[in-house]
Amino acid sequence: MKNILEVKNLSYQYSENDLILSNVSFQLQSNTLLGIIGPNGGGKTTLLRIIAGLIPIQEGEIVWNGKEISKNFHKELRLSYVPQRDTVNTSLPITVKDMIIFGNLPDKVNKRELSKLLEKLGLTKLKDSLIKELSGGQLQRVLLAKALIRRPSVLLLDEPTKGLDSTGQDQLLNLMNTIQEETECSIILVDHNINQVIKHCDEILCLNRKHHWHDKKELFNTDIMNSVYHCEFEHSLIHENQKDGKVTEHHQCSVHPEGHEHD
């Protein structure tokens, strides 16, 4: 398997003294499902949007298939992005079928391919329904179908399970596994449900602003999670006072009142 994505020392801040990503580095191999988890405001969506090319890089480097992000990299890579469901405007009277077809613009869609995709995502009966009449889970599947109609080699999903019950979450992520197996595409998804991510993803990126951990899911454990999650507030305050963003001395936080070392 070859590296499809390489993120090198990526840093990003929305304003001065508000560093949301600091020196984030990781690699993603092709045909891998990477789950990005982390607390709210930890930079997950920002990272995904930078990777998708929706936010310009401030510091660091992103290499897709050995090439830096360029103007047409979405097309060259066949990259599809599924935004958070609530950002989609459903006011227009668009049917499910039409919405999926729009996903392949400017190219036309093969009818047989479309009906196969509708069947795979359980949307055949809904194909003539208006998108404003769909439930949250149904709309999520439509957005996924719209992204898949391009036959992407890379699929980025921003909180696809948001607002779904546990069965719905499980079904959707099972579907992601099936899609990955069948299409051999690489998938990066941002999610809050740690259990679901551990169950369905091959690799995990645990991210909380200045701290991140990335490796195979088998190596992920509670200690790692605690070290990234627990000191969300305490460590932010401590790290803000460090010029290089690293704290090597022992310090206290709510989980370790006796003090501990953190890198």
Binding site: L54, H74, Y81, S91, L92, P93
Partner: protein, 281 residues
């Protein structure tokens, strides 16, 4: 019979009838996009801001010079809406606040310039509700050309417009030039408002930009029917309003506004019954 015959007998009424037909088709095309892009307030701001462009233009030209007046108005409006488009492009601050500021400041400036430098006194009521007596052949030619321009700008890239409305970021990734279409929409809206203001006035233009779109989005089941319903609704009730106003000696613009509103209530409530009736046949 004066309901119809007046429009054949008097040139100014015939011109105003053609003017209303052209403007209602224009706004019928734009209205669903205005509503679905959640820019209802934008239509209002643009129509009111024309006070500034008109007052600046009236410093140089008179009402009897329709073409230079229109060109000057259009140029100023394009500059203003381009500025507004820049401020609202992918802005995190709610855009309605910026549009609100634009509305009040442009109106206030318009009044000041009008009182200081205008070459002739302008009836502000006619600016609000229009004046059917002012329609000329030149205005009709301008409106016809504008109709063709708006039609092609919306029709050729129609799939792109739809994509942009429902998912801006998805469209961006698909390689659609978000910025270009953002500016284009503001400019088309600005020119349409400018060309319509003389006959319709700010209040009526605003109604025309909102009501047909609301009706179309409420009752249509696909994009083709959305555009068709919006245009036909706008056309029918605007012409009806003009004719009613003429028959009962009421102000034309205001009557069109009220007719559109009554039409909206009737249409939305009766539409499901009409569909059922036709299906049962």
């Amino acid at each position: 019979m004066s309901f119809f015959t007046d429009f054949i007998e008097f040139d100014f009424l015939l011109y105003s009838l053609f003017g209303v037909i052209l403007i209602s088709i224009l706004s019928g095309m734009l209205s669903p996009l205005v509503i679905s892009k959640r820019l209802a307030f934008m239509g209002s701001a643009l129509s009111h801001s024309t006070l500034l462009s008109i007052s600046i233009s009236l410093c140089f030209f008179t009402v009897n010079q329709p073409l230079p007046l229109f060109l000057s108005n259009t140029l100023i409006v394009i500059l203003m809406v381009s500025g507004l488009a820049t401020f609202t492009y992918r802005e995190k601050i709610p855009t309605d606040s910026l549009i609100g500021i634009f509305l009040s400041i442009s109106m206030a400036l318009g009044i000041i310039i009008l009182s200081l430098y205008s070459k002739e006194k302008v009836d502000l009521t006619s600016l609000l509700f229009g004046n059917i007596l002012l329609m000329t052949k030149v205005d009709l030619v301008i409106l016809s050309l504008l109709l063709i321009l708006v039609f092609f700008c919306l029709w050729i890239p129609r799939a792109k417009w739809v994509y942009l409305i429902q998912d801006e970021e998805g469209a961006l990734i698909q390689g659609i030039n978000l910025k270009f279409y953002h500016y284009l929409f503001y400019i088309l809206l600005g020119i349409t408002v400018t060309a319509s203001i003389k006959l319709m006035g700010t209040v009526v233009v605003n109604t025309l930009l909102l009501v047909p779109g609301v009706v179309a989005l409420k009752v249509s089941r696909n994009l083709k029917s959305m555009i068709s319903i919006s245009i036909l609704f706008s056309l029918f009730f605007s012409v009806l309003g003009l004719m009613l106003g003429n028959s009962f000696n009421l102000p034309g613009g205001a009557t069109i506004s009220v007719t559109l509103f009554i039409g909206m209530i009737l249409f939305i409530n009766l539409f499901p019954w009409t569909i059922k009736f036709f299906k049962s046949l």
